[in-house]
């Protein structure tokens, strides 16, 4: 095979030598034959004549030899490419529009695909990733839910100590560490990693050493391993980093090493900067640490099973060990029925070759939708280029006829035309890769939020490259086949007569163009409907009354954990800070609370009321916030009735609450909530006091904008039921909120310089909760607009071509007295037919497919009539404008010029 190729190539590159050799060889044969005839007594003349007859065509024979040597296939390919480039270069405008739109189409597809690849398909960059399994916990009470991946430390330790079927098992947890020692926080991505973490994954140190089981023992000293990227960025890759110290949340850690480059952890979308052993939790938490927290769920567990343990055996052995582990790690303070349920849980292995990812849950659906959207864009692009090619091929009508008359086979001509198309799509793919590079990193930045910087390794792998190559070839053929077949179907006689195609012929030739434009209209409508739906959802979410005013509110998160302040003293310190913030210039009002709206944190519990039909179970759940008197005023949640909190509602004062409308309606259906009492559901042996409702507040969103209002209760922050070391200040400002940051830092610093502070605005917090929605709305609108303009170009191009073809017909019509209006109508009739056909099919397609968008929409159904009508309206308007320009040109045909042209 390889030899064969070499031989062909040698034949190709030593072409002249090979040609002259063939000549010499044939001449020798010729002479020998002549001599033979001479010897048999013929005259020279006769001998020559006979030999020549026997020989046949000299050139023909040489061509056959060339074929036999396999020169032709490669040679014609080179010829085709060279000729194709020349042809494409002759119409630079059309070619560059084609390449550009292909680059956009292929690039967008590759960009979205590369995200799907990195988030969902790619194997982890660790040793033998397919051997890894993650351990999850299945709760028999909800067998349909996905098994839960989070462990408590006692559960993890018991499992680790009681199993013998893993060659390596480890736990980890991603978290944030603050590098700053007080003041504005400087968070890095932290990770707790158990002793076997790096060894099991087969990660080597780039410098120093990695965490081992020796480092991960109760009472351990603080050691830390840096990721390669963090080492480069933060220490400039200096060897001296190993052995230096880092302050993490105000605790000193010794750097012992750096992990291998390219290793980011096991969670796709996140990376770690600094890893510390699991035992270091004690350093952060103090004596009552999460290491012994039997209800503190924070660790993930994965392992590599021993070689002789099959997947089935692993499952069985985990099931056997489960009851022992759960009994040993039973939370003692749970109610009996919850303890019973806890003991019934069991471990289950799940594949971990591609790692774990919250991105996968959050973005699988949006990414698939976007893949569909960019796929549509690519189809529209193909349709567009197909109609360009078709128009150009008709312009080459004569050239093709001449080549055919000279003996080129149809297959040869089609090959030539397809080569041109594949050239275009290859160029498009190459620019598309650049575009994809840029586009995918832009997308990653787009889905990153303040709390969560998404990190993805976006380097192209074989899967992405073959995807792009496949798309390029596919598109090239898709937009090339129809024009190639159509334009090589020329009637030689009519072409040779030199006449322009007759009118009937040209109208027939326009038919495929009409189909192409109609399908473009149909596909564009689907895209426009989708983008309209996403846009309207987003607008609804953004403009909805959320029950608070997000504008001009600065949120300051303060943590007193690392201060050497007794817990009893902390409330006074928070009070002190709040009163200083309130008097800052530029602050309209200030307050403090435990929760902020739409923050990803919840505090909830069941409520009990003394009433015959009181809600129970899930219906009794209420969401809490503990707030200072200024809170409702600062976030502008209206108090509808009753009184606000005041300075008198201290820790020792009677317990009171302000409730929202939903809570009042649910628990007090008679509308008399004010003045009534409720209790928080109590753990056994810890009775809760009755709490009186003193105020009624308007409903406000608690966890997300999409939710129905939750039953919410506000309590005075002085009456908080357990100490909270991290509290939040809200500042309503008269200026740009971020401008206040320095003066807030200064004010807090005047109380204590060691308080870590984190700043953001309430508006940012709300915006971050809408990442998915904004991503879909922005991208689908962008691609919808792109599709619209492509459809416009396509229609304009196809009609201009038609008008040019029918110029003579229009001229005759006008010469015979047809008014300009009737010509205009004639052309516009074509536009309307194409448009109506496209819209009908498109509307059907859209109706059939928008159902899949249901879950991503808010406040409207997928079959939203307004969106459909608007999309149809926009598309029709654009089509009519695009069609009107060539139609007008048709009416300006001068009959004399058109007829003389013959």
């Amino acid at each position: 095979m390889f030899n064969d190729l070499l031989f062909r190539l040698r034949s190709l590159f030593r072409r002249d030598a090979v040609e002259s050799e063939a000549d010499a060889e044939l001449r020798f044969h010729f002479d020998q034959q002549v001599e033979k005839y001479l010897n048999s007594g013929l005259t020279r003349e006769e001998a020559m004549r006979r030999t020549r007859l026997e020989f046949g065509g000299h050139e023909q024979l040489k061509e056959e030899i060339r074929d036999a040597r396999g020169v032709n296939l490669i040679e014609t390919l080179v010829q085709d490419i060279r000729y194709g480039l020349r042809i494409l270069g002759r119409t630079p405008m059309i070619s560059s529009v084609a390449v550009l739109s292909l680059a956009l189409g292929i690039g967008a597809n590759t960009a979205i695909f590369s995200l799907i690849d990195t988030v969902m398909l790619r194997m982890l960059p660790v040793e033998k990733p397919d051997e890894l399994t993650q351990v999850r916990i299945q709760d028999p009470r909800s067998p349909n839910d996905e098994a839960d991946p989070t462990f408590t430390n006692p559960l993890w330790e018991e499992l680790r100590n009681r199993q013998d079927f893993y060659s390596g098992i480890f736990a980890w947890n991603l978290t944030q560490f603050d590098l700053a020692q007080g003041g504005a926080v400087r968070d890095v991505n932290g990770m707790f990693a158990s002793g076997e973490y790096f060894r099991t994954l087969g990660i080597r140190p780039a410098a120093g050493r990695l965490i081992t089981s020796e480092d991960d023992k109760r009472g351990c000293s603080g050691v830390a391993v840096l990721s390669y990227g963090f080492w480069q960025d933060h220490f400039g890759g200096a060897e001296s980093a190993v052995g230096s110290t880092l302050s993490l949340d105000n605790h000193i850690f010794h750097v012992i090493g750096v992990s291998a480059p390219g290793f980011f952890g096991l969670e796709v979308g996140n990376k770690f900067d600094v890893a510390v052993p699991v035992c270091a939790a004690e350093i952060f938490d103090g004596p009552k640490s999460r290491l012994d927290g039997r209800s503190w769920w924070w660790l993930n567990v994965a392992g590599r099973s021993k070689l002789d343990v099959s997947p089935e055996q692993l499952k069985a052995r985990l099931a056997v060990v489960s009851p022992l582990v759960f009994r040993a790690a039973l939370p003692q303070d749970w109610e009996t029925k919850d303890q019973q349920a806890f003991l019934k849980r069991s471990f289950e292995p799940t594949a971990a070759a591609t790692g774990t990812s919250y991105l996968r849950q959050q973005f699988t659906r949006p990414l698939h939708i976007l893949m569909g959207v960019v796929g549509l864009v690519l189809l529209i692009t193909c349709a567009n280029i197909a109609s360009l090619m078709l128009a150009r091929a008709s312009a080459r009508h004569k050239e093709i006829a001449v080549r055919k008359a000279l003996g080129a086979s149809r297959a040869r001509l089609i090959r030539q035309l397809l080569t041109e198309c594949v050239l275009l799509s290859t160029a498009g793919a190459m620019f598309g890769m650049l575009f994809a590079r840029w586009g995918s990193s832009l997308l990653v930045r787009y889905i990153s939020t303040r709390d969560n910087t998404v990190f993805l390794d976006l380097s192209f792998d074989w899967r992405i490259l073959s995807f792009a190559a496949g798309v390029a070839v596919f598109t090239g053929i898709l937009f090339g086949v129809l024009p190639a077949f159509r334009s090589t179907r020329v009637s030689l006689t009519s072409a040779m007569k030199g006449s322009q195609a007759t009118d009937i012929e040209s109208r027939a030739r326009f038919r495929p163009g009409r189909w192409i434009v109609a399908s473009q209209v149909a596909l564009s409508l689907v895209l426009l409907v989708a983008s309209g739906l996403f846009l309207r959802s987003l607008v609804k979410l953004v403009t909805m009354d959320v029950g608070f005013d997000r504008n001009n509110v600065l949120i300051v998160r303060a943590n007193l954990h690392n201060l050497k302040v007794a817990p009893e003293q902390q409330p006074r310190m928070f009070d002190e800070i709040e009163s200083r913030l309130r008097t800052l210039p530029g602050v309209v009002s200030a307050s403090r609370s435990v929760m902020t709206p739409v923050s990803n944190y919840v505090w909830n519990s069941d409520l009990e009321v003394d009433a015959p039909n009181a809600p129970t179970g899930d219906a009794a759940l209420a969401f809490f916030n503990f707030v200072s008197p200024g809170y409702l005023g600062t976030v502008r949640t209206p108090l509808l009735a009753g009184r606000n909190f005041n300075e008198g509602d201290t820790e020792t004062a009677p317990r009171i609450a302000i409730v929202n409308e939903t809570l009042a309606r649910k628990f007090f259906p008679n509308g008399d909530a004010l003045g009534k009492y409720f209790r928080i559901h109590a753990d056994p042996g810890k009775p809760e006091p009755p709490i009186q409702i003193v105020g009624l507040a308007k409903d406000a969103k608690y966890g997300s904008l999409r939710e129905e209002a939750h039953a919410t209760a506000y309590f005075p922050i002085a009456q908080v039921t357990e100490p909270v070391e991290e509290q939040v200040f809200e500042l309503r400002t008269a200026m740009r909120p971020s401008a206040l940051v320095p003066s807030v830092e200064e004010a807090v610093g005047s109380v204590s310089k060691a308080v870590p502070l984190e700043f953001h605005t309430l508006a940012e917090q709300v915006a971050d909760s809408l990442v998915q929605e904004r991503l879909l709305a922005t991208l689908s609108t962008f691609f919808g607009a792109l599709a619209l303009s492509l459809a416009m170009i396509g229609l304009y191009g196809a009609l201009s071509y038609l008008v040019a073809q029918r110029q003579r017909e229009f001229g005759i019509r006008m010469a015979l007295g047809a008014p300009r209006d009737s010509i205009l109508r004639l052309v516009m009739r074509d536009v309307v037919i194409v448009l109506a056909g496209g819209l009908t099919v498109g509307a059907g397609l859209a109706l059939a497919t928008v159902g899949v968008l249901q879950k991503m929409l808010f406040g409207l159904a997928p079959h939203d009539a307004f969106t459909f009508i608007a999309a149809i309206g926009v598309l029709s308007a654009v089509a009519v404008v695009a069609g009107y320009m060539p139609a007008r040109r048709a009416t300006r045909v001068d009959p004399m010029v058109a007829l003389r042209y013959e």
Binding site: N3, L26, F28, H29, Q32, Q33, E64, R69
Partner: protein, 110 residues
Amino acid sequence: MAQKRIELPQGTLDLLILRTLALEPQHGWAISERIQQISSDVLLIQQGSLYPALHRLERRGWIKAKWGTSENNRRAKYYELTKTGRKQLELEKDTWKKLATAVAQILETA
């Protein structure tokens, strides 16, 4: 003379060329002459099929070509059998014999 000649079945030419070259390296004209002689003028090889066949066999690596001097002192292109060509010849000879026997059997019995 013309009546005696037979059209060669597909693929047989390759076998004949290989067989001819098994004796000694030859140039194209000599190959066609030899085949004609040995077959008592029954088989006449046209240049139009001989040279494409030679170049095809060369591409397959069954024969190789080098320039030499002919009996009458002219430069001529000589073809000789390669190792794989020799193997191929044995293979094709076998196949041919089997085919010939089979065809003969059918013709005589059926």
